[in-house]
């Protein structure tokens, strides 16, 4: 059993599509917002997979891991902002 970049990309594609499905399917705003971290998780796995299996020899090899870190932080900030905005709208 082994892992290649193709299998990593399959997992990433599944998570990105699942996040898009959640964002489109859910009626409640906060529930639809949870699709965003799922899509970011898929993108982060793709970046980390590229850094692990196909990093460019000339450039910095860990730039995919850096993108994965930044995506996780952006996901947290987006959820915090969305939950706060939804709470404000519902209190009116």
């Amino acid at each position: 059993m082994s892992v290649s970049l193709v299998s990593v990309m399959f997992v990433a594609a599944g998570l990105i599509a699942l996040g898009a499905f959640i964002a489109a399917w859910k009626r409640q705003l906060t529930a639809a917002l949870t699709g965003l971290p799922v899509m970011f998780a898929g993108a982060g796995i793709a970046f980390a997979g590229v850094a692990r299996f196909s990093a460019a020899v000339s450039g910095p090899p860990l730039i995919g891991q850096e993108m994965a870190v930044l995506l996780a932080i952006v996901a947290l900030a987006a959820v915090a902002l969305g939950v706060g905005l939804a709470g404000r709208e519902s209190s009116r």
Partner: protein, 168 residues
């Protein structure tokens, strides 16, 4: 990559998929928070098996924060005014997106390179984030700051009138 890492990657990917499916189909927000935590756990495991230990740690912390935000007791939400037809079209578009991405991954001719980084890689990542790509890191830090300030303003509640009325 040896078999142990491969098993770890597939198990973690399955955990992340179960968490994502839970987010899609579970009704109560506490369970959605649990599903988001499960997704973060699977994501961290996948990162760790891809030799991205530092990214795994950060992802675990950030997704735990997301899960706590979703599962908090004073959860409020807004009902969107989107018709069923548009929701079904969105679901079909998500399926088409998956098919396109999976086809691109299957047909792609990827370069294979030998990985020579460490398991955790925090030193190299710190050098990359704060020296080579400092502008991108500062941009994300600015976005996080703006988002947290916006969230703090949005969370502010008006003071109930009976607290202010009746005072001299």
């Amino acid at each position: 990559m040896d078999s142990l890492h491969a098993i770890g990657f597939y198990v973690s990917a399955a955990l992340a998929a179960i968490g994502g499916l839970g987010l899609a189909f579970v009704r109560h927000h506490e369970r959605r928070g649990l599903a988001l935590g499960l997704l973060g756990l699977g994501l961290a495991g996948a990162y760790a098996s891809l030799s991205a230990g530092f990214a795994a740690l950060i992802a675990l912390l950030c997704y735990a924060g997301c899960a706590l935000l979703i599962a908090r007791p004073d959860y409020r939400t807004v009902e969107q005014a989107v018709s069923t037809v548009w929701r079904q079209l969105g679901a079909v578009a998500a399926a088409v997106l998956f098919a396109a991405l999976a086809y691109a991954a299957y047909r792609g001719d990827f370069v294979h390179a030998t990985f020579y980084g460490g398991v955790f890689g925090s030193n190299s990542l710190a050098r990359l984030m704060f020296a080579h790509d400092a502008l991108a890191t500062e941009a994300v830090a600015g976005f996080v700051l703006v988002a947290l300030i916006g969230a703090a303003f949005a969370w502010r509640r008006e003071r109930p009138r009976d607290h202010t009325e009746g005072r001299p």
